[in-house]
Subunit: 190 residues, 2 copies
């Protein structure tokens, strides 16, 4: 019989982040995480495939927000404009009250090469999802892949700036600035 | 006493690729690889940290070629021009007679998520190396990171096309075409 644990997923996730931050990711087991919030290891595995996936839960939703943004961009948008539209739509995923959590998560990931690799794979999937959505709008190749990769680059640069110590601007504001730099960078004629 | 084995590194690498391709990466051990060319497992580990690293040997040299290319770009080049110069310089690393080997390596990597993650990390390092070389030329941030990421994107798209079935153009020719698409993509004014 499976007992329903109200809020178990979120409690496990918060406990995991605290343990990874204080004891280190490698040193923390799924059992440690479960115990720290009075749950069993078995309950942990009902919510997460393994202790790494705690940090990557919600990845599908994250990607869907970008993909839906590309699809919802105004008719007649260029590939890069559709990506820009999606970047702004996806900022709903990163309100300013999430910044502290994102900073904690990021510190854990950059400290562990295996987690860093996993994060890169997540971004590669995001790029593939955006490219597919662009092809769905009739954008050809290699333009769809190039615009998608450019969007993921802009997101990555803006996101790291959003997490930087003392940064208070919203992710959307930073993204708009970085996108402007990308347009300027590539507009240079030899 | 360490016995010198002429050509051992290359024999081990070629044997590893054949075994990964025929039996699968997970199913192949370091001992299997060493045995197949009449060497011991201990000899294998003198050349490679583990069976994964066989596929990523030469990574430092690969990065150095790009970094040297950025440094050697003509004075007064824009960030993107310096990256473009480095992309052309790095094609020396991928002559057409290497295409068959690169295709075999790539097929092994895309079939295994762990290897795919490792390859993404290699490209992330490449991007960081290029960005550092650009900052060394006086390019500021975020322009250095954006130009470096754009270069790695162009390389990735061109490299996958270079590996495509039936493709016969050189990597340099394909890169020039993809770079032209990037410039066109970003030059669009809203």
């Amino acid at each position: 019989m499976v007992r329903w644990e109200p809020g178990a997923r979120e409690r496990l996730r918060n406990a995991a982040l605290d343990l990874y931050a204080t004891h280190g990711f490698e040193q923390t087991t799924a059992a440690d995480i479960a115990q720290s919030v009075g749950l069993t290891e078995r309950t942990f595995f009902r919510y997460f495939a393994d202790k790494r996936e705690v940090l990557f839960a919600g990845q599908e939703l994250f990607q869907e927000v970008f993909v839906a943004g590309v699809a919802a961009a105004p008719d007649g948008s260029s590939a890069l404009d559709a990506v820009s539209f999606a970047l702004q739509a996806a900022t709903s995923f990163f309100p300013d009250d999430r910044r502290a959590y994102s900073r904690q998560r990021n510190a854990i990931i950059v400290a562990n090469p295996g987690l860093h690799e996993r994060e890169l794979l997540k971004m590669a999937w995001l790029s593939q999802g955006i490219a597919e959505a662009l092809r769905g709008r009739g954008v050809g190749e290699p333009q769809a892949t190039l615009a998608a990769e450019t969007g993921v680059t802009v997101f990555g640069v803006a996101y790291r700036q959003w997490l930087a110590e003392g940064e208070e601007r919203s992710l959307g504001t930073i993204e708009a600035e970085v996108l402007g730099e990308v347009r300027a960078l590539s507009a240079i004629v030899r």
